[in-house]
């Protein structure tokens, strides 16, 4: 029996700094898919409108923005139809915000499962990011519908361009940012719950630090501009809008910054998560 059993397992106290075990994550890929399915399907069980609810939320938010920021406050939309301008921001921000909020609660929300059975813990946040991606896709279709309506039936000045090819990259950066930050926060909140109170609030405020209800071009104050550009989500939203409409600010520099911010956050998040996952049950 000296042959190495593929399932030989050594349980020891200390983890190496980076102990990702991607092979094991791959072995549990079915679980990831089933979690995604569960999250996606269980949301609209026992509702009349079912998956329609994925549409209703961004539609109502857009209408609200059109009334409050466009109608009452008369804020600029860079000459774009308000519906397109707001919806573009809301749909991409929603993905980030939802994925971040849910992944940041991974340990606390799943303590009952994690306390009873082992599987690579990182499956849960990964599944969240994927299932929120599905929600994003549904809402993106809504955006496309609105976009084509304006593009084909009105004389709005819309100039979709080759930046559209960057869309997959934008999605990857958004997912990476949300996952990295979420992993970091959930690992920090197992012991001290203080961050939990902060996160919902921070996401809400973060929306105002991102060019969603205003275009970046409206910000003249250079210091304020710096602050907003320091937010890695800003260039994502601007690029997204620019790709479809030709209006907005697109620069490789700020997109590159977002990409690097994603890598850093992802690395920091993974390391912290890794450190905590083995013993979090003792402190959660």
């Amino acid at each position: 029996m000296s042959t190495q059993n593929p399932y030989t397992l050594v349980i020891e106290p200390k983890t190496r700094l980076l102990d990702l075990n991607l092979k094991e994550v791959w072995r549990y890929r079915d679980l990831l898919l089933l979690f995604v399915r569960r999250d996606f399907v269980s949301v609209y069980k026992q509702t009349i409108f079912g998956p329609l609810w994925f549409f209703i939320q961004p539609v109502l938010t857009t209408i609200m923005f059109m009334v409050v920021f466009g109608g009452i406050a008369k804020m600029s939309t860079d000459g774009l139809p308000q519906a397109i301008f707001y919806l573009a921001g809301i749909v991409s921000w929603n993905y980030f915000a939802e994925a971040l909020k849910t992944t940041s609660e991974t340990f606390v929300a799943n303590a009952s499962i994690f306390g009873k059975v082992y599987f690579p813990r990182v499956i849960t946040p990964l599944s969240i990011v994927v299932s929120k991606l599905l929600t994003f896709v549904v809402q993106f279709v809504l955006f496309l519908l609105v976009f084509f309506y304006y593009f084909l039936f009105t004389d709005a000045n819309l100039a979709p361009n080759s930046t559209l090819l960057l869309l997959p990259l934008l999605i990857i950066i958004t997912a990476g940012l949300a996952l990295g930050l979420g992993l970091l926060i959930t690992a920090l909140t197992t012991k001290y719950r203080d961050f939990r109170f902060l996160i919902g609030f921070a996401i809400q405020l973060g929306m105002y630090a991102t060019p969603i209800i205003y275009p970046l071009s409206e910000i003249d104050n250079p210091k304020l501009r710096m602050v907003i550009l320091a937010n890695p989500m800003s260039s994502i939203i601007e690029t997204f809008r620019f790709a479809f409409t030709g209006v907005g600010e697109f620069s490789w520099l700020s997109l590159g910054y977002s990409f690097i911010a994603m890598l850093v956050l992802l690395a920091a998040g993974t390391l912290t998560f890794n450190k905590v996952e083995k013993t979090f049950m003792d402190t959660v």
Partner: protein, 421 residues
């Protein structure tokens, strides 16, 4: 041939920090970090080490498990028994990788699946079918494996009709059956089971135990089984480990292990009654103490002969005296009443020097559990002393009928009986 153990545990220990986490622990953490930055040792690890084996009061750290060493051979069913707090659950948690040990090492050669709870991850809104897949995957099966076992699982659970219904509509029994069915059809090399058998009806429990036996005997798989139920330990395991206060107290044959466990957990406390104020009666006689035990002073078990020894203090010689002892359960329901006025006759001549009365109950008919007794003495037709909850005692599982079987409906008391046809 020298077979390599499938599980090898070496010097395993787990330390827990007591108390709640708040600003106090945060200052510990900051201090710890600061010492580390300055290149010094962790100041609190030392505290932990000092309190290591001694467990003096005031320590913030406790060893839930320490110095655990044992091996499990392939195909073995190992029972793990011990009182609450002995470290059984901690051991299972470490084995199933829910949490990591503080020191030591476990080496396993094979896939481990743990069943610390049935129905982990069941989502109430999803149907039975969806939950079988989800739960199976959580327990470590691939979709393909589950699909190939699907019909067997549904058949075992006996819920074909409800398979497309959300599990929140299931009766609790059906829910548990389905959950166990999924777990029972896992095919790990090592199965770790925590008292999940304590659920479900008798028929299902029998099925579950049978399934576990099959898993081991035909499947050649290793099972680690934790239970309080001595009957199922006896039925399943050839070898047991008794844990006590976080260490291995006994390792060996099941029968001897159960004996050791019962011996160590007996609660034949002598209750002092002299100082009790909550008593009524004219005081012509006073109870002083009560003690419950078997004849050989062993642990009290269902079906054994037991003796209550009651001490008392009598003011004057009595010519008409009787005693009453009422045994009630944890649920405050009376199980039986022993009164010598009814069963035989009052004591006609009791010398004032007498100070002990004993009550023998042959073949204790009580089921496993905690019981209390009320005491009363009547002297010359007047209540002389009466104390409620004068004593408490634990009854351990035993073989009342001598048939090797234990009733699964845990209600009432056991009586001798005969069926004829």
């Amino acid at each position: 041939m020298n077979i390599e153990p499938i599980i090898k545990i070496e010097d395993l220990a787990k330390q827990y920090r007591l108390g709640s986490i708040g600003t106090g622990t945060f200052s510990h953490d900051v201090n710890r970090w600061w010492q580390k930055v300055r290149g010094k040792e962790d100041p609190y690890l030392k505290v932990g080490e000092i309190n290591d084996r001694t467990q003096t009061g005031g320590s913030d750290y406790v060893w839930a498990l320490k110095d655990i060493n044992f091996e499990v051979q392939p195909g073995e069913i190992l029972g793990i028994i011990g009182k609450n707090g002995a470290g059984k659950s901690t051991l299972l948690k470490l084995l199933s990788r829910v949490t990591a040990p503080t020191t030591g090492k476990i080496t396993c050669h094979g896939r481990i699946a743990s069943l610390l709870e049935v129905g982990t991850g069941f989502h109430p809104e999803l149907t039975g079918r969806e939950n079988i897949y989800l739960n199976g995957a959580i327990l470590g099966m691939t979709k393909k494996e589950i699909a190939s076992k699907f019909d067997e699982i549904v058949d075992f659970a006996g819920c074909q009709k409800y398979i497309e219904t959300p599990v929140k509509r299931y009766s609790s029994g059906m829910y548990v059956r389905l959950a166990f069915a999924v777990a029972a059809h896992l095919e790990p090399d090592i199965l770790v089971v925590d008292e999940v058998l304590a659920v479900g009806d008798a028929e299902f429990q029998e099925k579950a135990i049978g399934k576990m036996q099959d898993v081991s005997s035909q499947g050649g798989r290793t099972v680690l089984f934790v239970s309080h139920n001595m009957a199922s330990i006896k039925a399943l395991c050839k070898k047991v480990i008794v844990l006590k206060n976080g260490s291995v107290y006994y390792e060996g044959s099941t029968e001897e292990g159960i004996r050791v466990y019962l011996e160590s957990s007996k609660n034949n406390l002598i209750e002092q009654l002299m100082l009790r104020k909550d008593r009524i009666g004219n005081g012509k006689m006073k109870f002083t103490n009560i003690n419950v035990a078997t004849f050989d002073k062993g642990a009290i078990q269902t079906g054994l002969d037991i003796v209550f020894t009651i001490g008392f203090d009598l003011k004057a010689n009595a010519t008409n005296m009787w005693f009453r002892l009422i045994v009630i359960g944890d649920d405050e329901v009376v199980r039986f009443i022993c009164n010598n006025y009814h069963s035989t006759a009052p004591f006609r001549k009791v010398n004032k020097d007498s100070n002990i009365v004993s009550l023998t109950i042959p073949k204790l008919p009580l089921l496993q559990g905690k019981y209390y007794c009320h005491l009363q003495a009547v002297v010359d037709n007047e209540i002389a002393d009466e104390i409620e909850y004068a004593g408490e005692f634990d009854v351990n599982e035993g073989d009342f009928y001598g048939s090797g079987k234990v009733p699964t409906i845990r209600k009432g008391v056991l009586i001798e009986h005969t069926w004829t046809i």
